[in-house]
Subunit: 353 residues, 4 copies
């Protein structure tokens, strides 16, 4: 059952409690309620500036809205070859921004690097209407293979992007896990480093429908509000989405949950690191662990009902597998992951020794 994904977990007890509380009374619909007001205030507070934020129902919608807001005719968005918005959203950003093209870069540990980005952007000389023009660079933090950009990494990328007239989007489906790992403040890891728009995912962290798009330039609020409605993302009883965000932001609840998940991943990493049947493919920097498993180890996981999934990547920078038949697997810890679950992995691996 465990380690399949952090969206297999439910919502935290605190989130459920606040949802029950939010059910009280009649309040205006479509985000004109006190809960939404409170959520927006908390977001501005935690990001240390006035932001234009919108609750949405999925991460795909968040990415779609974020990218659409910087799209221009002939626009091209550049992301990592494994970027979620390119490989795993069935084209949501392409529907929200008709005509938008996508181009890719690659780098070690699934990262967009400033160098690779600069090289790719050089493919688009100014005025070349045939090729289109880059408008936005997108990075995922935590990225698709569990790695984190530090504030300084973000700043380097942002500088290249800006030099080419591009905005910088951060897909933060597991943003709080990145905060927990980097110890950076939300502001430092985003707008202070040059991020223009953030898809802030709190669903995996411990909500059940708690996704937010955050524009750091409040002047984008007006256009985005129409797009938010038009994409079918303006919830009528928005108080319930807002209440989850309130629950998760107050008293650093989300950070506490993410810190737990990261620490479970670290423990799991230690277990995998020492096994003869597994090799860590990448450092553990979040709540995700990527490891090569021997065929026997993969089978042992299945037998023990541990849902670590085989993982496909297009990156050409991943370390080679120890043997041809060892496959890359992803383990994801959540706020609900327990020591017992980690121990179950350990037991399964040891059973082969």
């Amino acid at each position: 059952m465990s380690f399949a994904s952090d969206n297999w977990a439910g919502a935290s007890d605190k989130v459920m409690a606040v949802l029950a509380e939010a059910n009280d009374g009649e309040v205006p619909a479509y985000g004109n309620d006190p809960w939404t007001g409170r959520a927006l205030d908390l977001l501005s507070e935690q990001f240390e500036r006035d932001v234009a934020a919108f609750t949405v129902s999925t991460g795909s919608a968040a990415n779609g809205l974020a990218l659409a807001s910087f799209h221009k005719p002939g626009g091209v968005v550049i992301g990592h070859v494994d970027a979620h918005f390119i490989r795993d959203e069935a084209g949501t950003p392409l529907l929200y921004s008709p005509g938008m093209a996508v181009d890719t870069v690659d780098g070690p540990r699934g990262m967009v690097t400033a160098d690779a980005l600069a090289q790719r952007l050089a493919d688009y000389p100014a005025g070349g209407v045939h090729h289109g023009r880059p408008t936005t660079v997108s990075i995922s933090n935590v990225n698709e293979i569990g790695q984190c950009y530090r504030a300084s990494d973000v700043a380097e990328i942002a500088a290249v992007a800006r030099r080419h007239g591009c905005a910088l989007h951060m897909d933060g489906a597991r943003f709080v896990n990145a905060l927990a790992f980097t110890k950076a403040s939300p502001a430092d890891l985003t707008w202070r480093a040059g991020v223009n728009v953030l898809s802030l995912g709190l669903t995996k962290t411990g909500g059940w429908c708690a996704e937010v798009v955050i524009f750091f330039d409040p002047a984008m609020r007006e256009d985005a509000s129409y797009r938010h409605k038009q994409t079918g993302q303006l919830l009528s009883k928005n108080r319930f989405a807002a209440a989850q965000i309130v629950a998760l932001l107050e008293d650093n609840h989300a950070l506490t949950l993410a810190t737990h998940a990261n620490s479970m991943a670290e423990q799991l990493g230690d277990v995998l690191r020492v096994s003869n049947h597994a090799t860590l493919a990448l450092p553990v920097q979040s709540n995700e662990v990527f490891a090569y498993l021997s065929p026997e180890a993969a089978a042992a996981m299945k037998r023990a009902q541990i849902n670590a999934y085989a993982w496909a990547s297009r990156s050409e920078h991943l370390p080679d597998a120890p043997a041809a038949d060892w496959a890359l697997h992803r383990f994801v810890a959540s706020f609900r992951t327990t020591d017992t679950q980690v121990t179950a992995v350990e037991t399964a691996l040891r059973s082969m020794d």
Copy 2:
């Protein structure tokens, strides 16, 4: 506070209880969980056939997905001049179906009539690529001014639509209120009468995020599943949306809630009918009451904090106001509306006598 809209109410106690129950344990994401399975089974059961159903987060998304699924190049959707999908969704269907045009008809009581529809469809002679071609007719049941189509009305419209090669969509944002009023079965009011796709709204009825698109031809499942994902509507922790639907469908909970709301509206209608300061503009057929209020009555409502909103309509078939300065107002009852709230309206009106 009251009568503003049924989406100012929260969720029913039963819905909240089932949500808490659904929070238990780890289950697969993206609708591959037992709760989603149960919700789909219940939908097929209540509609008496295998259906292809998808949970979405808003009614706009439901309408957008429904209409997109029947769109063809040069396609035109025909609806009432006041149709919600035309006037109140900021163009969601136009974004989900790029290139889709919209045309309108009018009729008494805000209804699409078979005659008006046939006349409009005649504007599109076969093969006229310049004009585009009608692909879909859309009706709202309950409609935008609280009126219901009976199964026989639907069948007449469906016959005209079919004769012109059009599918029939029903926007059922308040579908259960229409069931409560017409006493028809879900199947009789939809596919047996010729409806191809239904936007089934259960949020206003008593959920908080409980919208479903239902295709009555299961062969549409495959295409719709990709569109569902691409529009950003595939919830990761879908069990929570599904649980609401389960709560609302089991033991006719939704019908019970809608029957209460309708009955409150009827009581309110009686109050307005006998007042010298108000005139019912239309019969009460759902949980919505449309009445002309004198300026004094409107002011009295405001003083009493009764949120009955002035209502704009483009229909040329509405009865005239009793006086030039009497304005059309909408009162909406919900599952939470109480006798006390109705009495408050009565008191406010009597205060002027």
Copy 3:
């Protein structure tokens, strides 16, 4: 054969001669050739300002590009109920601007009036994300029933549009005919009166593929150049389109051709006016004549192989037909229309006396 439409005519002799001339030698593709340069210079010259102009292959593409350039999320374009871009382009603007909604007004002689426009715009209160927001007003000059806006009419409409934050688009599929009728200068009839973008059609006037979109704010050039390419409208051997425009603009050739067509329409109007079997429905203000014909007259036209087509309009302001069975017909004169063709109509009508 005659009077069906001005796009049944070929190209003028001068246009054909210049095309042959333009065929000489090798020149850069995609508009980087001397002919395109010359065409753009002539356009700026005739409009008395620097303009950003793009050749396109059809009037639908011109309208689509023009409207897309002012589109914003949730955007609504407002035009006359009979507007070509709404009724006769199979949704080109809706494809070029996904999510764009269309709304309509009506007025005497198929005109958008400042009053009707102001009233319609009031349907969209600021900040109403549900309704969308008007971004652009579109008028056709010559309009769909042969009538012309004078510069003062345009200015009144532009003032209302501007007050509501809307741009003003002019569909000038027969713009030169409007110039010929109003005696206004190109600048006076467009940007000096508040027009932001013009679809300038020279194909009907006497070219064969000679359509231009003209943005009066040169700052729109960059975005439009990408859109121009992306919509599939950047011709590789653009010198041939440009050469037509050069031929038509030099020495007022287009104006000469349009003046001839208008004058033929006027003669035809005189013939119809005095017949017992026809009634002019509208004044003759361009190269189009709209008249009610008795069934016998319509039959006589057919017998004489005069292609005057029955015309459908949704305007509620058209004068009533003299009798229930008299139908509205459109006659269009072109640069090639001859006295003989007018006489043929006269003869056909007299044959019934």
Copy 4:
């Protein structure tokens, strides 16, 4: 001046003569004229079957229409990393098919190979809504670096595509040059080998606006006709586009022109092959020659006003340059290329010896 591109040439004398002929008289607009009829007949004749064909104004529009016609929700089109529709059309297909994603393969000589294709298609397991689903494979014949697919190559690719439920599109911007090289019949190189839709470019061959989309399944005519209009591609005076096609298809005029261009390229290839300052990068299979030039040779070309352009490719299969500072250049011959122009290249190269 020479060798820059085949769209720097004008139109052939025969094309110009037929255009003049087509200018005679009044004919119905929008393709309902005898010239269009004749062009469609000739296309069906030369492709040995009833086809649904549409004239368009650009190759980008042709590709856009072709790909849109096979698009499905979540659809992915697969092409070569250098494919024109991916790199050089500013996203036309992405605008015509909102939501369509693009994926790429690579192979020797810029070719899509059946093996690479099969491997890429395996990335899209059935039912994976997150990844989208491949709907169409697109190959260019002649491809982007002057290489030709033979009928047997096409058949192999078509077999893989079909096995995965994909249609096969051929971008034939230089299709007649591929016919000239492969000696295949139009039918053998397309539908008999499994091609579903062809973008047939005759502009570069010797027309000036002579592009056609050809669907080999006539049942696609109806939908395509609306899309054709909606994309702004239905020319009003279509007789002139059709006349060019007639001129080019009659008496194998296009094939004669393409054969000339290919033979000039071959001569040029011979010149480059023997030079010490140039190396052919690829075999000469069409009217395009790709060669590495030393910096001195590139400078000599410039001095001699020979417009051979430096060429960028993303393929990882191109042969290495003889030295780090030798750059890939493209030379394109057209129907107008003369021996003198080839000799000029020879002279320029010899000047360095």
